[in-house]
Symmetry: C2
Subunit: 478 residues, 2 copies
């Protein structure tokens, strides 16, 4: 059990951090007590905003000595309540947002080093200014911070080619639960000196330490890009199309996003200005993006040629390559508006799941069938990153029911049912978003004992006082 | 301290494993007591050769209960004595070589699942048969096994594009020190359920468990490949050339190997049939390999065009693109014969080091200067993976001295001197080969305390009886 922060600890932190770094004013704290989806609400007596890693060390040391819990927070865009303090009000919020400096950028090394509070969009901008690119993007890019992206091993739409954050983090600086500073920013492409602490901290959701900075991998600026939309009969054909395109144009493919007819219909109904990209409606669609390096032949040309070959083999029913940047943007808007359109249509149960890539087409069909068998009239919308074996498997209430009431009464059961199918297929109940507090119980229920045992052993070894973001990721049985 | 295996433990293991899986015959054990470079020699009362993961579990459980140490061994090709048993003769050799089955291969998922004892060359063959490629290769491919490659996070000549094993391992099955089986083979491209045990086991040198199988990433079979050789004045120009080629032909570049004039001279002197690829001799050379996907324009054509542009900008003095597969092989032979030529020339101190990529050109020049200042007449040969910031920094004795005597008396001091420079540059004293027993003391001397503390805490948490490959990687102070 953690201790509540004493008055003397708070005064100590106040004098350590000064007025810009410490506040007990409820109006300052209020915005950070609720997750952005409004599902979780906590309490905290103070908001700490250190200016540098040394401040973070001092905070962690003092809280460690007192047994007081810390909740690290970046842009507060967690999808699973991972950065929201607990309701008991005994934990302190440690905001990294003030640490927002890009420390260095090297176009020769293709490395950008940013403090934890740097916002993703600023990383993008800095990379472009250096004529490079940081190839990870997601909807929350205007708020999500480097520390949070690292700590949640964030994904996005370019994972197919470049991998998630884990593939793009070359070095980490972090304050460990004992207050020591791990100085691992040196961006070594190769380093075989035993267990890699960087790999442990990536995706640890702040439970093993506070990431204070990261060195990120940059890639060449693209020469040209191409976006296409294809209509096809089944998810299996979609995957066959991906493999055929890979055979033809290799790793140029950056995105391969699956969109079912019902998701497209929601977008066309709810999003002003949205237009169907193909003449006919197709049971399934994919959005494809390819990028060609500078000096290579035009991306649209080679994508068009490759798609033409695939069409001849029956791997798509119809397809169009965007003829302009604005057409490309319009195609992407169809994909990126699915969540908004779904929200406009009513509440949904969301599941961010993965299975081995080749198993996904069959999984989508089987799971949809099983859910609608179990709940007559429930509507399944499965869309997203087919090439990564990761879809957002969302379930809406039957049309005739009170959606909110249905979700409350049936939701947990439906989710457990889906997670059981995912687990049976060797998959993950959290492909992208992490466990946080939202999925902690389901994770404990579905995870293999060996995996949980190892994770608990590591947590106990590195954070014996359990001060780092307790109640997230790993929770003990009742 | 570990216990010596008792007679009853050995009898127990004998009846468990049967005659194919257990031997105490010194003639059977003898070949596995010495590392392949002949630097370390140990003793062991028995060689255990389990047929499957269940056998491994039984071995580990029994040894764990008795406190007896286990040394996992694959192809026994460690460069740092990582798989050689200790001299005290109290540890048992656990050979994975009998577990040599490729369990499955999926060209749809681009995944191959192999048991720990499968030899790398057999992985290559199986991938080619499935019209795919496993993009990691190294000189010991005829002996090195999957388990050893995973446990040492092996590198090779294609790391520039595809990364080391860490980037290619999608899943792991392993027996943990408590005898439990970690079943993590399911090849998920995305899985955010907390600390990744896979990442911990990769590069752990068998100190956290025994890897029994791995799921490996395959990539498309190449359409065409091109190999070129360029002569240039300095390592900095070599790196500038790499960046210029990346700008032009993106990630098609798979290898970019630095070869100094003195290394090339040794090869031309000692390797029969070796011929200089360019008319003039150049202070530095690079070997470049690019690969184009099927259906794309010819790799040689685009590499030739890109190199032509770079030459015009003065980023190379001269260059040639291999006009045939046999010319390409001949160029590679020059690079791959350096170690053999060096051996023919006399013994050398070898250092497998990395620094941030952009710092490497300056590091090579400065370190060479410092070593020859310190030891008049000592000869430095620095060659290898410039694009990864990793070179083999080898030192030969001055010509007029007794090389063996010089290495014995001066070697440790020279190595410490070089490792201090590497550490000061934020680099790694082991880029590729691991720590094993050879570098354990130097690692303890040069590693930051925070890093060591975390590694020791993890080791103690997962292997509290210290039965997994003790004496490798992490050693306690005297």
């Amino acid at each position: 059990m953690n201790s509540k922060p004493s008055e003397s600890l708070l005064e100590d932190l106040d004098s350590l951090l000064g007025p810009r770094g410490f506040t007990r004013d409820p109006r300052d704290i209020e915005p950070w007590l609720t997750d952005w989806r409004g599902r979780y609400r906590g309490q905290s007596p103070a908001l700490l905003s250190p200016a540098n890693a040394r401040d973070v060390q001092a905070i962690v040391s003092r809280c460690g000595a007192a047994g007081v819990a810390i909740v690290p927070q970046g842009g507060n865009t967690s999808m699973v309540g991972g950065a929201t303090p607990p309701a008991h009000g005994g934990a302190l919020i440690l905001s990294l947002r003030r640490m927002n400096r890009i420390r260095s950028i090297s176009s020769s090394d293709n490395v950008l080093t940013a403090e934890a509070g740097v916002i993703l969009a600023h990383v993008h901008d800095a990379a472009v200014q250096a004529r490079r690119r940081f190839p990870l993007s997601l909807a929350a890019k205007g708020s999500a911070t480097v520390g949070g992206l690292v700590s949640t091993n964030a994904g996005g739409t370019q994972v197919l080619r470049f991998g998630p954050m884990r593939s793009l983090v070359l070095g980490i600086e972090a304050v460990l639960p004992d207050g020591s500073l791990y100085e691992g920013l040196s961006a070594l492409r190769k380093d075989n000196r035993g267990y890699d602490l960087r790999e442990l901290l990536i995706g640890a959701e702040g439970t093993l330490g506070v990431v204070t900075a990261a060195s990120l991998r940059l890639v060449s600026a693209p020469g040209s890009r191409a976006v296409a939309w294809a209509g096809l009969p089944t998810p299996q054909v979609a995957l066959d199309l991906l493999r055929d395109l890979e055979r033809q144009i290799g790793e140029a493919i950056e995105s391969f996003e699956l969109v079912p007819a019902n998701a497209l219909a929601l977008v066309l109904r709810h999003i002003p200005g949205a237009r169907a990209p193909l003449v006919a409606l197709h049971p399934w669609n994919v959005l494809i993006e390819t990028v060609a390096p500078e000096g290579a032949s035009d991306a649209a040309e080679s994508l068009g040629g490759a798609l033409g070959n695939s069409l001849e083999q029956g791997l798509a029913t119809d397809a169009v390559v965007a003829a302009s940047e604005s057409q490309a943007e319009a195609l992407w808007r169809l994909r990126e508006s699915i969540s908004e359109a779904e929200r406009a249509d009513g509440p949904a149960l969301k599941h961010d799941i993965s299975v081995p890539v080749s198993a996904m087409p069959q999984f989508i069909e089987a799971a949809r069938h099983a859910v609608t068998e179990r709940h007559d009239g429930a509507r399944v919308i499965a869309f997203g990153h087919l090439g990564d074996g990761n879809v957002h498997f969302n379930v809406q209430a039957p049309r005739e029911t009170d959606a909110a009431a249905w979700l409350t009464s049936e939701g947990p059961g439906v989710s457990s049912f889906i997670y059981d199918m995912v687990t049976a297929a060797g998959g993950s109940i959290s492909a992208e978003h992490g466990i946080g507090q939202m999925k902690a119980d389901e994770y404990r229920r579905t995870a293999p004992v060996t995996r949980l045992n190892v994770q608990h052993a590591i947590k106990a070894a590195l954070d014996p006082r359990n001060i780092m973001n307790p109640g997230k990721l790993l929770v003990h049985g009742n």
